[in-house]
C-alpha cells in the first residue's frame, strides 16, 4: 500500500516494528517502531516517557520525509531510557 503512495509521488515514512519485512518488501523510508501491537510507543514506560518516545518516533518520521534516499533506508528514533 505504501508503495502505491510513493508511486503517486508522495513520500511515505513507514513506521513499523516489522522493519525487516518492510525492507524485504522494499519500502523506502522505514522508521523503527517499538513493537507490532504498539508501533508508536511503549506501554511499559511511564505515561510521560511513553508520550515523549512517541514524539521522537513522529519527529524521526518527519525527518525521514525530508531525507533523500536511494532505496530501503532504516531510520531509528532516539531511544527513551528509564521508566
Amino acid at each position: 500500500m505504501s508503495k502505491e503512495l510513493e508511486k503517486a509521488g508522495l513520500p511515505v515514512a513507514l513506521i513499523s516494528a516489522m522493519f525487516p519485512v518492510a525492507q524485504q518488501v522494499r519500502a523506502n523510508r522505514i522508521v523503527k517502531g517499538v513493537s507490532i501491537p504498539h508501533p508508536c510507543g511503549d506501554p511499559s514506560l511511564s505515561k510521560e516517557l511513553d508520550a515523549r518516545l512517541r514524539r521522537e518516533i513522529v519527529r524521526t518520521a518527519l525527518k525521514a520525509l525530508e531525507s533523500e534516499v536511494k532505496g530501503p533506508t532504516l531510520f531509528s528514533p532516539p531511544v527513551a531510557t528509564g521508566g
Binding site: 500500500m1 502505491e4 513520500p11 511515505v12 515514512a13 522494499r26 514524539r55
Partner: protein, 353 residues
Amino acid sequence: MTKIVHVVNQFFAGLGGEEKVGLPVGVIEGCAGAARALEIKLGAEAKIACTIYVGDNYFHEHKDEAIKAILDAVRAAMPAIVVAGPAFNSGRYGMSCVEICNAIAKALEIPCVTAMHEENPGVGVYREIANARVYCLPTAEGTSGMNDAMTRLAKFAIRLARREEIGPALKEGYIGRGIRRIEKTERRGVDRAIDMLLKKMKGEPFESEVPMEVWDDAAPAAPLAQVKDRNIAVVTTSGVVPWGNPDKFKTYRNTYWRKYNIAEVKELEPGKWEAVHGGYNVAYMNQNPHYGVPLDALRALEAEGAIGAGKLYPAYYVIPGNQGSPAVMRRMGQEIAADLKKDNVEGVLFVAT
C-alpha cells in the same frame, strides 16, 4: 476431435473498435476474427466450435447479463476447453477475459486458459481469484506478440484437453496464482529444512518450498524540503476506528478503506476509539489508540512548530491490514493516493502493525 470455444472482444471478433464497445454478447458458429489464427495453431487435434464475443464496455456495464449469456452459449457448445483473449495490455479486455474464465470454470467446471501482458490489471484479478481451473499465460504488451501468444495458447489448450498434469507455474510458464499443492516426498520436512539451512550457511543456492510474494520496486519519492510547511497525512493499517466500528471492518481481509475526522481533535481518548484487527493483540491499542494514530505527538509537534499550523490533514486513513491480499492492498493504496493528491497532501506518515 476436441471442441474448443474461443471468447474474444468486439475488436478481435472483427466487428469494430471503440465505436462498438457497447456490443452485447454474440455467438458466431465456427471461428471468426482472431479465432481463425487460434484454429490454425490448434492443428488437427482440436476445432473451434464457436466464437463468443462481447463489447469491452458492455461486459463491464452489464456484467451479470453478459456472464449469463456467455455461460448459456458455452453450455450449448459443451467444449472441452475455453480459450479467452489474448488481451495483451488492454485493461478492460484483460479483466473481462479473467472474469469470464472464472465464471465458466466455476459454473461449468470447464478448464480455461487466457493470456495477457503481466502488467494488465486482469492479472491482479486472476491472482486474487486463484481458480485452479483458470490459467493465464504471459504475452507481449501489444499485438505484435499475437503469433507467439496464439501458438502457446493452442498448445496449452490441447494439453488441458488431454487432461495432462499441469505442473507449477515456474516450470510450465503460466502466471503463478499462489496456489499451493500437496506433494509427496521421500524426506521429512525437518530434514529438508536442515538441508536448506546448511546450504544457506555455506552460501550455496537452494530453493525455498514457500516462495515469498514477488514485490515490485517503487522508486523512492523525492524528499520534502521544509517538512513543517508541507501538508501531511496519517495512514494506518492498525485498524484504529471510532468506537463501535461504524463501517463494520472485519478483523481480516478487508477490501475497503475509510477516513475519520480528527480536525479539532486534540487526542484520541481510550473508550472513544478501538482497534479492529485479527493479526495482533489489540489490548494496548485499545488502552491508548495513539500507538496506531499518534495524534498526541502530532499535536505536540504542531505546538512546537515542527508541523505547520493547519498542515496536518484533518482526517486519518485506515484499514485493518490483516491478511490483505497484495492485489487488494495495491488497489486501496492507489485509491488513497488519489484522494490525498486531490486534497494536496504532500507527504504521508504510515503506521503499520
